[in-house]
Symmetry: D2
Subunit: 291 residues, 4 copies
Amino acid sequence: MKSKDCQRNTALLLVHCYDKQGLIADITDFLNKNNGNIIILDEHVEREDNIFFMRVEWELDGFLIPNEKIGDYFNTQIAAKYNMKWELYFRNVKPRMAVFVSKMDHCLFDILSRYQSGEWYVEIPLIISNHDTLAPVADRFGIPFYHFQITKENKKEQEKKELKLLKENTIDFIVLARYMQIVSPVIIDEYENKIINIHHSFLPAFPGAKPYHSAYKRGVKVIGATSHYATEDLDAGPIIAQDVVNVSHRDSVKDLVRKGRDLEKIVLSRAIYEHLDRTILVYKNRTVIFN
Amino acid sequence: MKSKDCQRNTALLLVHCYDKQGLIADITDFLNKNNGNIIILDEHVEREDNIFFMRVEWELDGFLIPNEKIGDYFNTQIAAKYNMKWELYFRNVKPRMAVFVSKMDHCLFDILSRYQSGEWYVEIPLIISNHDTLAPVADRFGIPFYHFQITKENKKEQEKKELKLLKENTIDFIVLARYMQIVSPVIIDEYENKIINIHHSFLPAFPGAKPYHSAYKRGVKVIGATSHYATEDLDAGPIIAQDVVNVSHRDSVKDLVRKGRDLEKIVLSRAIYEHLDRTILVYKNRTVIFN
Amino acid sequence: MKSKDCQRNTALLLVHCYDKQGLIADITDFLNKNNGNIIILDEHVEREDNIFFMRVEWELDGFLIPNEKIGDYFNTQIAAKYNMKWELYFRNVKPRMAVFVSKMDHCLFDILSRYQSGEWYVEIPLIISNHDTLAPVADRFGIPFYHFQITKENKKEQEKKELKLLKENTIDFIVLARYMQIVSPVIIDEYENKIINIHHSFLPAFPGAKPYHSAYKRGVKVIGATSHYATEDLDAGPIIAQDVVNVSHRDSVKDLVRKGRDLEKIVLSRAIYEHLDRTILVYKNRTVIFN
Amino acid sequence: MKSKDCQRNTALLLVHCYDKQGLIADITDFLNKNNGNIIILDEHVEREDNIFFMRVEWELDGFLIPNEKIGDYFNTQIAAKYNMKWELYFRNVKPRMAVFVSKMDHCLFDILSRYQSGEWYVEIPLIISNHDTLAPVADRFGIPFYHFQITKENKKEQEKKELKLLKENTIDFIVLARYMQIVSPVIIDEYENKIINIHHSFLPAFPGAKPYHSAYKRGVKVIGATSHYATEDLDAGPIIAQDVVNVSHRDSVKDLVRKGRDLEKIVLSRAIYEHLDRTILVYKNRTVIFN
């Protein structure tokens, strides 16, 4: 996904619909007869509800349908017939990501150092925060930093201003990098399955505030971190990635926080990677991740 | 812990009390002046409540206090002064363990195959079950199997009979190897911190029934297993060991059950190992494990 | 893969060949026009050598080609054109597995307890050993046990007898469950990519004898186990599964052996599961595993 | 280990010597009779060579021996008698660390972001490199950056200049943060067990150059990273920390590199943490880590 790799001239299609015999043959035939060389194809059938999921990537060089008409043709010739939900992406269009932070810097540093070294094919036009604590970090990396102080009273209004700013910057998706505020429907409704949060516990264990204190109190032998799409229900959205680390009686709450920080930044960055790589489909509050 | 190792002629002391300057020096001096060669010493101070924990093992060859008086001397000369709680064990006394099962055999097989090959220094005089399903497995390994059918009405009475049987067999501790019954205070009160349960989830996530179904529904990316001492609160006792395995959207509930079985048996056996090795102290529903 | 699941009436095709545009469309079209409902399709392109791999499973109910002609038709209509290598399996044909052991019982117990509880859809007609140590275990599970004492002088001859026995029992694949002998080409040539070995280290670290001693001496902080297909080069065949466990300075060689045993049996059983599930393709001493 | 925690007024003693009865009692008695309140004590006996290791930390407030004489007194009264090797540290003395880099920035960014946020109690007076690529990163964090171009011909001379610079800055220990040069005895001899390297493989697998390419070619299912003290033998020094991550046939060399980067930075930072926390003793090319 380094810049040069991502600029490969391919299209990516993510679809899901009720499973039906002939689906894969139909889709691959559509691509093949239009001279599209498939380079990746993944499919999965959720047996419980009989839902078919597919992710297919093909080369655009020589493809007979012009980019701007692919969606239209696919919809008419294939998607309509199966009542499909689908998304179409072009690899060489750089996604635009906003980062929301509060006061903790470890996730932000991790994101910005990857950004700086070109690890991801992404643009970060802005950082938003409810505190000005991390303005110097943003500054150090030359990224515009917007401070929106949030109180119970002004929250809705401030979020509307944030939304306006996001729109003006044509932001595609948002990363909550230890943003210690609940994002309300004002923003969530506009960015469904496009807001990636990191929660500092192994969900569904220890949702909400102070999970490391709770983990310590419960005496667990493993702690975790979970990245998920933010939904209106706190810490209950579709899970993208989780990881854990061993702890023991020797670890104080402070040690859990320290060990957890490393998990949080790595797990969040993995989720961002998958999101950027367009491997994720969401269905019924769960994710299908073709990686 | 193979038979021959365990028969080493040593004593083990587990203590906890309020921390105080000079504690370690006092205890080590007690052993040293009685010619006890310390071979393992671990200590930990829980800073929050200022509790001191120690586990010390020393050689009995040449130790000046006879085995049967060690407890008495230690109590008088050291423990009383610090208001200590302490336990004393001799390595070459073989612990006696009862196994409770229901219908699933994977944990039982794992335990019995270790028993059979002498991996643990333990005696298993009996297996108890609320079903007769696994009687043939017990039979195959030549272990007496007792079937106590349990209904809502007869539970208390049956457990009293079980307790009687346990006492008659001088059982030291109990392993619930996927025993799908809640053990009531009748037995728990007599075996405090001496009943090891395995729960098929990453506690405190998914306590109670059908955790794999819940994990599937929640769309987690990691599942786990937890062994803990059984207390009156279901799946809420002190945790001994936990481990996890990655899962993905490809895993159905059946796959989670399959992957989980491997975790369950390994995590349970790790807990049994630690219990047998006398590494565990319990404090405030948490464990200190000196391993 | 429990008996009843595996008896589902499906066929599985594993193919690999040079990648070419239209391949997937061709194969899915072949199945579709013969009324084969695809239930799983996985593909992968190895970019370095441009090799296409696919695993596809479809329902046989209503499939227009009779089972005994599927291979023939597929070969003529598809495989020949692409110069494919392919294998065809039917889910409801139970594979026949032989287990080779020496003196250690933990892997054997693990395999037999899974076999006994019907976890795998497999038949185990026999156990072969160079020692008679584990005959009682085989006996306990009611499986014929054959003892072939092996010396430097008689090895070739004994292996020929073993091979004859394997053939007479129409054995499909072999599991070396801590079989402390090098299997020679006499057998390997007849069971290419069909002999699963477990090596008690994290290959390619510590191949050959006494890996736990070497791991201890090197002071590693993690030990591992590796299951792989046996080839003529010792511990150098295609890797199927690997896993690791943390160790510390507190672990003696004996502790590494103990912790390693748990890894070995689980990693070996995972490899057996994948082999039975027909998810593995071998190419250039590496495995593609569609799980 | 955040600044304020580390400034606690304690001393730390690390010792090793042949094990002998009474050792622990002697040391604890020395501290106790001088009014030193022990807050952490860890000991370990390496059974093979009968070596005793101990790490003990005690409060200096009220301790009867002045700081500058502790070493002297301990040496005379205890260490000499047992022919001990020992090191003495004071928690509130901030260690000084130099970072060596080449062109890759992920480990450097990780180190500097921790430094910046005060995660470690350490001073980083300078960064040294054989390339000027990362000068802007050093600049961004306000740390002096020294560029020593190294050729086969000038290596020894340049290293002497580096050593001079290290000495002038009273550097206590060195971190090789993906420094793609072999450090020669010129520097190693002066910083024995004080140069922390990160190797991008699971040692002893894949030492030397291009481990990810080798891992890919071998078809391993897990890759790793190893931090160790640099010695004259390449990638063969005492191991401090190791960790692994799962990979599959889907991962190209580029993916291994990407996944590996996350491991490298986390594993290196864990090793730095342990070194700073003075938990590590080195013996016979292995580490005892009291964490």
